[in-house]
Symmetry: C2
Subunit: 128 residues, 2 copies
DNA sequence: CCTAAACTCTCCCCCAATAGGAGGGTAAAG
DNA sequence: CTTTACCCTCCTATTGGGGGAGAGTTTAGG
C-alpha cells in the first residue's frame, strides 16, 4: 500500500512516516518506476509499534532498539525490561526535577500579592 | 566589558550569551570599530535574571516577558504572578503526564519476567 | 478518453535552545 | 614582537517533526 494508507492505519501523519523511512526506523519497499514507497502489513505493524512506544515516551533511538527486539523472536525478555526500567528511571528523574521547580515557584507565587502594586517577590527572587 | 566576562559573571556560556544577543533577549552595545559586544553591569544583571528564570523552566519567550516586567518599575505584580501560575500549571500538566506513563510502564515491567525467555508482555503490549 | 482532483515525490525552511567548530580579526601579556 | 587568549560571523547538528513549493502519478468522474 502507499504511504497515505500506511499513515492512516498506523495513526501517524504522512510526514512522520516519511521521516521514519528517511532515518531508517521503518524502511518500506520502493517502487522503482514511480519512486513511491510501498508498505507491507508488517511495515504497518512496525509503524503502529513505534507509534505506541513514542506515546510511552521512548525516544526514536529507543524505538529503534525496541523494534529490533520486537523483530527478534529469540530476544531475552531481560533486554526489553532493562530498557523499560531505564525509561522509568528517566521519567522519575524528570518528575523530581519538575516537583522541585513547582515547589519553588509555588512558594514564590504565594508571597506575591498579585495586585496593582509593583512590589513583587518573584521578580526580586529572579534578580538575586 | 566583553562577552567572556559577561558570560562568566552571569554563569552562562559565551555561546548562549551571543545567542541571547542575536534574538534580542539581552542586547549589548557594540563597538563599531571591532564589532565586539560591550556589556554593561545592567546587561549582566539581565543575563543573570534570564539564567535564573531559565532554571525555573521559563521558556525564552517567557523570559522576554518577565524581563520587560523586570525593567518596568511600575509593573503590577499581578502580571508576574499570572505568568508564574501559568508556568506552575504547565509543570503540573507535565507531571501528570509523566506519572501516567510511569504507572503504565511500571505495570508492564512488573509482568515481565526479565530473563532469558523471549516471552515479553512489554513487547506484546506495544504490538497491540 | 480526457481532465481534474487527490496523492506522492524530493527538497528546503521552520520551531527551541543551545553546542561545536572553521576561518579570520583583535587584545593583552611575555 | 610574538604568542596566546579572546572575539567575530557563519555553518552544522541535535529531537521530532510541520509547512509548503514544484513536479510527477493515480484515480475518479464526465
Amino acid at each position: 500500500m502507499k504511504i497515505g494508507k500506511a499513515a492512516d492505519l498506523s495513526g501517524l501523519t504522512v510526514k512522520t512516516v516519511r521521516h521514519y523511512a528517511d532515518i531508517k526506523i521503518v524502511s518500506p519497499a520502493v517502487n522503482s518506476q514511480t519512486g513511491y514507497r510501498d508498505y507491507s502489513e508488517a511495515d504497518v505493524a512496525k509503524l503502529q509499534f513505534v507509534g505506541k512506544a513514542r506515546r510511552f515516551n521512548f525516544s526514536l533511538e529507543e524505538c529503534r532498539e525496541l523494534l529490533s527486539l520486537y523483530e527478534d523472536q529469540a530476544r531475552p525478555s531481560r533486554e526489553v525490561k532493562k530498557l523499560t526500567l531505564a525509561k522509568i528511571a528517566h521519567i522519575e528523574e524528570k518528575m523530581q526535577e519538575l516537583a522541585s521547580l513547582r515547589q519553588q515557584l509555588a512558594a514564590l507565587a504565594e508571597q506575591c500579592s498579585g495586585d496593582d502594586r509593583p512590589n513583587c517577590p518573584i521578580i526580586e527572587e529572579l534578580s538575586n
